[in-house]
């Protein structure tokens, strides 16, 4: 078994926390606003219909309570939409794609290209008005680790998709020749490096 086994410093690895995240197209915020607006209009219409057609008109306290709830919910939703737009972003790297999203639960998901099964570019009705697209990235076995990045311009979405597909094909070819595997440098993973030298427990 002759192979090189270099030692690598853990700090020398590319870091997901330091890269710059690309924000989604600013029109996507408008797309989300329109989506929320339509949603709340439907709810509001339902409230009005309930007032006109049912006994809700006899119970004004309940009705105004519902209206207040509707307003608060709508305002909260618009604020959250704005906040989530600011947080949401992606970072395209040479070997993987990072996606960050969520206001209440902030998640950062990374999919290496050599684990991607296929990619798709799709478009919703509201997104079509602004010529925006959603890039979907699928992995094997269920949808838990699939990614969807909305609010991309047509050429951006297509370019990222082509880039990922190229990388995926490349990795399958490497898999076939299987030449690099023996040269993986090893990294020591002792508790000191992982804990960052600071006592955490």
């Amino acid at each position: 078994m002759l192979f090189e086994n270099h030692e690598i410093d853990l700090d020398a690895l590319p870091k997901i926390e330091t890269g710059n995240f690309q924000q989604l197209d600013e029109n996507y915020l408008v797309v989300r606003y329109i989506g929320s607006f339509i949603f709340f209009m439907i709810i509001g219409f339902g409230l009005v219909m309930a007032y006109l057609l049912t006994e809700l008109s006899d119970n004004l306290n309940l009705f105004w309570g519902l209206v207040a709830g509707w307003i608060i919910w709508a305002i909260a939703s618009f604020i959250l939409t704005r906040m989530s737009y600011k947080i949401r972003g992606y970072q395209l790297r040479d070997k993987d794609l990072i996606h960050r999203q969520g206001v209440i639960f902030k998640t950062t998901t990374t999919i290496p290209f050599n684990r991607v099964q296929h990619c798709e570019v799709s478009q919703g009705v509201i997104q079509r008005m602004f010529d925006l697209h959603t890039l979907q990235i699928f992995t094997a076995g269920g949808s838990n680790s699939d990614l969807a990045i909305p609010g991309l311009k047509a050429d951006t979405a297509q370019r990222i998709k082509d880039f990922i597909i190229n990388k995926t094909v490349e990795s399958t070819e490497n898999e076939a020749t299987n030449e690099i595997t023996d040269n993986i440098p090893s990294i020591h993973l002792d508790s000191a490096t992982i804990n960052g030298g600071t006592a955490t427990e």
Partner: protein, 514 residues
């Protein structure tokens, strides 16, 4: 030589064994009975003359004719379905053609095939045939199942596909020999469950499921057969209905007996189900993976290719620890999310058998230096707040409204209980990191272990709630093609370092991971 002949023939479209007709009819009848059994029951009861004890008296001729018509139609449909169903192998694809008017053709390329499983019920066993299920991976869900083909043929198909599949992916010579060995089927028996083992497993099962089945069945029976209870009105309390005739004094005895009976029946049901499911369970280790064969009436055979196995999990409970047994699960890549069918499960394994499986899945594991890590104690407070505080509030409001003091005391004690169990939870949560993989262990009463090799990972995620962001901790997830591993509440910096490391490991590794 005979096998070679069989292989060549696979390119010619062929039908299943004629036994398939019976099986299709049987499936149809089962379905009809399952959906319409209350109607059938009513028909039988209405037509049955209790005086003469014969059903001939006042039979409804129309109903009988309709039943015969439906029966005849489904039999005809089954026969057509049988004759219009062909399967063959062409250009490294398994192909099925079926349908009379609506012709369907399913192509399943060999390199997409994940698992090939056999199943035998009583009819299969009588005619020495098996049903064959071929499962694929990927988002375009494809699954092929053949109702009945001869056992020899099924084995030949499996061997043929496995060999061709191995040729398709050019790999190092090591695996070539593995494939040759696999053809000879020299599987080594890892373990076999004796009746005594079955008893242990049955007793240490989770009996809540058995209890659920009894209760569910009781309510379902009662609701479906409601019409046969003369004075029962919809909306009446079921308990009231029964209590009415019992008298108040007897209720205490009655409920004591009921509880004892429920416990006994739950254990019995678990036992019976264990025997049905796992009777004669044999766990094999072949050169390409693992094979499990079991079942009393329905014989199941499931196999997992070692390359397809993404992660392995084993766990014990208080009762299981008493017997020194673990439940083992091998999770392999499949089309559906985390399909229980795709997870090979062995209900009772001893420690040394677990070690054999570990060594097969992860040969390098013995030589690795694991570093042991725990999780942040912040999780205790959060668990007390969510698992303790929310139920307590609901119970307290309830107690206040009903003026129930015992309930209020229980409500106040609940968070204390959660606090102590959470302390144990935090203390028991450990993860072992190494250069090639991770081992996690957690649990309050029992312990669940999960072993995952880094190169099986296909996505890494960190998740932080607002509270977690304030305290700079995060949940870390590793996703594979067959389920995920979660590490809760570790320092954010640590989570990021592990993420960077695992991504590096995955991205430089060109081994085929499924």
């Amino acid at each position: 030589m005979e096998e070679q002949q069989l292989n060549n023939n696979f390119s010619i479209p062929r039908r299943q064994s004629p036994i398939a007709i019976f099986l299709i009819v049987q499936k149809l009848i089962e379905q009809i009975i399952r959906q319409f059994w209350p109607i059938l029951l009513v028909v039988v009861l209405n037509n049955f003359d209790f005086q003469t004890k014969s059903s001939a008296a006042n039979e409804d001729p129309y109903l009988t004719r309709i039943l015969f018509f439906i029966g005849g139609l489904s039999a005809l449909g089954s026969i057509i379905a049988y004759f219009k169903f062909y399967y063959y192998i062409k250009d490294d694809e398994f192909i099925i053609e079926k349908g009379l008017f609506n012709k369907t053709k399913i192509n399943l390329p060999f390199d997409r095939i994940q698992t090939i499983n056999f199943e035998q019920n009583l009819i299969h066993q009588a005619f020495n045939v098996v049903s064959l299920e071929i499962d694929s991976a990927g988002s375009t869900q494809k699954e092929i199942s053949l109702q009945a083909i001869r056992r020899k043929e099924a084995e030949a198909i499996r061997a043929f596909i496995m060999t061709e599949k191995a040729k398709l992916t050019p790999i190092n010579p090591e695996i070539e020999t593995i494939v040759q060995e696999a053809q000879e089927e020299n599987a080594a028996l890892l373990m076999q469950l004796s009746p005594f083992d079955l008893l242990k497993i049955g007793i240490s099962q989770n009996h809540i499921r058995g209890l659920g089945i009894i209760m569910g069945f009781g309510f379902w029976m009662f609701q479906t057969l409601e019409d046969f209870f003369p004075d029962y009105q919809r909306g009446d309390n079921i308990a009231d209905y029964f209590i009415k005739d019992l008298g108040f004094g007897n209720i205490l005895y009655f409920s004591t007996y009921l509880i004892v009976a429920l416990i006994v029946f739950s254990v019995l049901i678990s036992l019976v189900m264990t025997v049905f499911q796992h009777f004669g369970l044999a766990f094999f280790r072949s050169e390409v993976g693992f094979k499990v064969r079991s079942g009393l009436f329905t014989k199941r055979e499931a196999s997992a290719n070692i390359n397809k196995i993404q992660l392995i999990r084993w766990e014990d409970s208080i009762l299981k620890r008493l017997f020194g047994i673990f439940q083992l699960g091998l999770f392999q890549a499949s089309s559906a999310a985390v399909n229980t069918r795709q997870a090979i499960s062995v209900p009772g394994c001893y420690a040394h058998q677990i070690n054999t499986v570990r060594a097969t899945y992860f040969p390098a594991e013995q030589n690795l230096n694991y570093s042991i890590h725990g999780i942040s104690p912040l999780i205790i407070g959060r668990r007390v707040l969510y698992l303790g505080g929310i139920p307590m509030t609901i119970l307290l409001i309830n107690a206040y409204l009903n003026q129930a003091i015992p309930l209020a005391i229980m409500a106040l004690l609940w968070p204390v209980f959660i606090y102590f169990t959470s302390k144990i939870f935090h203390k028991n949560w450990k993860f072992h990191l190494s250069e090639a993989g991770i081992l996690t262990e957690h649990g309050i009463l029992g312990t669940q272990f999960t072993l995952l090799k880094w190169y099986k990972v296909q996505a890494v995620k960190t998740k932080q709630s607002i509270y977690q962001r304030r305290h700079e901790v995060a949940d870390l997830y590793f996703y594979t093609a067959a389920g995920s591993v979660k590490i809760p509440y570790i320092p954010l910096e640590k989570a990021q370092k592990i993420t960077n490391y695992v991504l590096y490991k995955v991205e430089v590794d060109n081994r085929s991971w499924m």
